[in-house]
């Protein structure tokens, strides 16, 4: 009896040691790839507030950088003496318009299309679903020239603000299929009985969708909104290709302009600009990560 007891003590101790060693190994492996990422972001933040170029994460002239690096917030954006953009906030407005417009369009399309694909049986449903996946594997760049022809034909190329609106339509069109797929999964998880209950309780089909089904897939809508917003915020190619006037550019295009001709690069301003550009992504992820992580629709007790 006593011997057995001692043996178990040994086994438990051994298991504990093994667990600790295992944890050390796992954490070390996870930490190694994190190092360059942490270094890059660290440099970005420190450089954004330093007056002189920074190396090895040591701040250099911290208060001095504030007015110098962030001058783009209240004056024209210049590089090597030439004015690149006259008004920074116009760029912010354009970018917000593009990303919020894309979000609105994508959510409107996918929440209806996802429901239809999830709930209705119709001819061509399966091929449609499959082709979405196949089409998604084709990079959007391939459509660039074809779309250019189309815009030109429709008289929308180089039309300033309206071209930006057109870019929203293109972006919404490119993003919608995959998010429809994603939302379909959320709609699938809503039990039919809930919708039937709504119909019996006095809803029309559309009202049942709006009042009962839609609130239940809110996490899905939130996830789609975030992805669509960030994809609009980060869009570069479409804006750079189709828009011809500097005042209709977005932040991503402006940011890339700051990195050209590297003799004249103002690293302080570049870092500050990048930090600003990063903000919405960071805010979005901090406030909504619980929706992104929660892929189960509802706590349904049956």
């Amino acid at each position: 009896m006593k011997d057995e007891h001692i043996t178990y003590k040994g086994i438990v101790l051994k298991a504990k040691i093994r667990r600790i060693i295992g944890a050390i190994i796992v954490y070390s492996i996870v930490c190694i790839p994190l190092i360059p990422i942490v270094l890059m972001y660290g440099w970005l933040i420190i450089q954004a507030f330093s007056g002189k170029p920074v190396s090895w994460l040591i701040p250099n002239d911290i208060p001095g950088g504030l007015s110098k690096n962030w001058r783009f917030l209240y004056g024209p954006i210049t590089k090597g003496g030439t004015v690149l953009y006259r008004d920074f906030w116009r760029l912010v407005f354009n970018t917000l318009l593009l990303s919020l417009g894309t979000t609105g369009l994508v959510v409107a399309i996918t929440s209806l299309a996802g429901y239809a694909i999830s709930r209705f049986e119709f001819r061509g449903r399966d091929p449609l679903l499959k082709s979405v996946v196949v089409l998604h594997s084709i990079p959007g760049v391939l459509f660039l020239i074809a779309l250019m022809y189309l815009l030109n034909y429709l008289g929308l190329y180089g039309k300033g603000f309206w071209t930006l609106v057109t870019v929203i339509l293109i972006k919404g069109g490119l993003e919608s299929p995959m998010y429809t797929w994603m939302l379909k999964g959320f709609f699938d998880a809503v039990p039919w009985e809930l919708e039937w209950a709504a119909l019996v309780d006095g809803c029309s089909r559309f009202k049942a969708w709006r009042k009962v089904v839609l609130p239940l897939i809110f996490p899905g809508i939130a996830a789609v909104s975030i992805f669509a917003f960030l994809s609009g915020w980060g869009e570069y190619l479409l804006v750079y290709t189709y828009i011809t006037e500097a005042e209709n550019y977005t932040l991503s295009v402006a940011l890339s302009d700051l990195t050209y001709e590297f003799l004249y690069i103002d690293y302080g301003m570049l870092a500050a600009f990048s930090l600003f550009y990063m903000l919405p992504a960071v805010i979005f992820f901090i406030t909504t990560q619980k929706y992104l992580m929660r892929m189960r629709v509802i706590a349904y007790k049956g």
Partner: protein
Amino acid sequence: MVSVRLENLTKCFGRVIAVNNLNLEIKDGEFVALLGPSGCGKTTTLLMIAGIYKPTKGYIYFDDVIVNDLPPKDRNIGMVFQSYALYPHMRVFDNIAFPLKLQKLPKEEIKKRVLETAKLLRIEDLLNRKPAQLSGGQQQRVALARALAKQPNLFLMDEPLSNLDAKLRVIMRAELKRLQKSLGITTIYVTHDQVEAMTMADRIAVLNKGELQQYSTAEELYSKPSNLFVAGFIGSPPMNFIECTLVERDNKYYLDASDFSIELPEDLGKIVTEKASGSELILGVRPEDFRVSLRPVEGAIKSSVYVLEPLGKDVIVNVKLGDTLVKVITPQDLRVSLGDTIWLVYDINKIHIFDKKTEKALI
């Protein structure tokens, strides 16, 4: 309230016939159960009455008006689902108020009705909770309240008790019946549990494979099953079926099984001969219609105890007749053990005879 009539109602899903040519009449204020095994078409029938499924063929009448094309929202029905289908994102109050809000009732009226119904079902103190914070029994009450608050003409229930534990189910069974009787709402109740159907409903429609087998009261389903399916489905333990053949000798009629033979009275014998499609028959005797005797009895079936299943009050004696295991319910005080020779006494007025081919009851 409303009376409901189904006329040649048929529903196909692709090639599968879920409900086949169903005719049924439910009187105003009546409590009718649709009873059958899973996949028999009872829920499909209910969903057609609710207006969620469209009939492939046939008509649904509410008070002599065809409602086939009436959307569910205009039928003024209250429905309780097996999963309760409470709206998870709404508080209990809003769940119950939801149908009333859709009717655009004034706020005061909504509040009054919700509180009244909540009081009736004793869920007043749960009104601020979300459905996920409720137990199964509470969710069930909320679902009932939501269906009742809108003061429906017709109450549809799809296995509402099957997710409750056994004890609660027995309590809710009585409460539901009482509620239905006091409100007088026409009710159609779908269940696969024969005890639920028998205890609660005024009339029971037994369905199998999409077809109506028998539509009658609990007593009649029990004492006069119209076919083999109903006989085997109603009653627990189920009716014993023994294959036999009809033999006529010297103007006397016998049911001849491999191990024994039963003499039929002349009038019974004549009826059976007339109705049967052949000589192959099935004899049906309920376990409670046999009596066990330890001494030989004239005309009784001699057998031996195969296994005993005590139930507390009663004991089920299993005997083997030929290849068939026959169950007999006897009082607990019977002193028998495995292998004992016993005699099974039957009442000739309580036996059932079915045609083996058509499966229809002959007497």
